[in-house]
Symmetry: D2
Subunit: 155 residues, 4 copies
């Protein structure tokens, strides 16, 4: 048992449930060594979309209600929380405190956040966003203790 170097280090290790940390770390290693980042990204997108299909949101008109419904699903899984903001030309999606870096490691940053991309795209399409719109990751903010993932829904 090595002592964590910092609280940040501790959180990154323990944010992921002890039951699956080892399995998901092994899965990340497999994905890092056997398939291309593009394929890993596509796989994570499909998994996220599938997760969202299995947790359908009620029909909601207003952005704050949609945000609250998404946060209720994330809270039930301890997957962090989201802010939805309408900018002029896109919907900006900021996801905090996801356990995915703790699960898949910092070496997975090129592909693991795509699970959120897939989930938000599925939910927003089901909410009527239109099939031509796509959710795309536009940034990973690693300044805070845990990465914050930023996505946009746009044509």
């Amino acid at each position: 048992m090595n002592r964590p170097q910092s609280d940040h280090d501790y959180h990154l290790r323990y944010r992921c449930s002890a039951q699956w940390r080892s399995f998901l770390g092994a899965l990340a290693h497999e994905m890092n060594t056997r398939i291309e980042p593009d394929q890993s990204r596509a796989l994570m997108r499909r998994l996220g979309a599938s997760m969202a299909r299995n947790a359908p949101l009620p029909t909601l008109e207003l952005l704050p209600d949609l945000e609250a419904a998404m946060n209720s699903v994330w809270a039930g899984m301890d997957w962090g929380w989201v802010e939805l903001n309408d900018t002029n030309d896109a919907l900006r999606i900021v996801h905090h405190c996801a356990p995915i870096e703790a699960a898949f490691g910092s070496g997975s940053r090129a592909w693991s956040p795509a699970v959120l991309e897939g989930a938000y795209e599925q939910w927003l399409r089901a909410a009527g966003a239109g099939d031509r719109l796509r959710v795309q990751q536009i940034a990973t903010d690693t300044a805070s203790a845990e990465p914050v993932y930023v996505f946009a829904l746009a044509a």
Copy 2:
């Protein structure tokens, strides 16, 4: 929220950590629909071997000590428990209360238990079992509330 039909039903749903139940269910669906059971089995074997490599056991001579060391790892992950028994011509490995059916569903029985196969083979080889020996699943006992997986180490 559908009411569980039985305690068995409840355990099968909740034995898997809420944080990863949805993700792992989506992964199982992906594996069931996109790749062959043989490939899924091989993947699960590699993941199990990788998990065991990341949780090396101390050097131990006696079977009860080896069993205790394995159970200490499984207990730390809430992955159930194992009995090791020396039969005449093989080592018999019986794994109870694994969360894998809760995670991957009963439709995964053809491949998900291979994660245990891979882990036991890795641990037993590291303990000196010899590289020619293989751990093979020989039965899945579904009579009890949760499947019990039976493996053998043999040439």
Copy 3:
């Protein structure tokens, strides 16, 4: 690490979250040795009522809807599941798969189930059951793998 004697033994140990198993076991020891079962029962009733007040149910008329709302709360906490049945002269409440025996031990059976008593009484009064009605435990069924707790709401 002692090997569990049986799957039942494993479930009783691990049904309670690893984070609080040790603390709650110490709390149970304190309650068993320092205060009377009646006082422990009264304390658990107050704690259960407090838990239910902090998880208010929506206003619902029908028993199956009330049951579903309760199960949604219990599911979010992994506290098992409940069946509500209207008998001729009472409402019968059967709670399955609670983690309380795993947390407080079999030596706590005289008092630990009162946490559920308090929760159901609070929820049923809030649903309009009337302040003269009380929820009382009428049985603990230990025939199955985990105790099943039976309560009745009656005058």
Copy 4:
């Protein structure tokens, strides 16, 4: 579901296992309203000592080994991590990332950290510290995302 105000807010809510968050919050309310902080502190000390007695450490001479053994217990419970430092006249104990503020609330700061006091005192006495020495909390550092608790073992 209110959106967390910050990552800090999220961590404080979710650092405590969902299974016991509601129960422990109710227990904290009970302790805050029914008994004096001194009594709550004494109770938490006894609970911590009891937890440490149930997780005895191996016999170890060196401080880094003792620290590693303690961290192994805390890691298995997801109770954070500890640094032990020998100062001139006392042993300084710094505990990070404990889930106790998430469980018992910031209103419990006068008494909840005593559970760690009791655990360290029990472990250090068992390691030969002498029955005249006591572990006393000397500070709570709330500058970082989660409180850091500082204790000293001294005569």
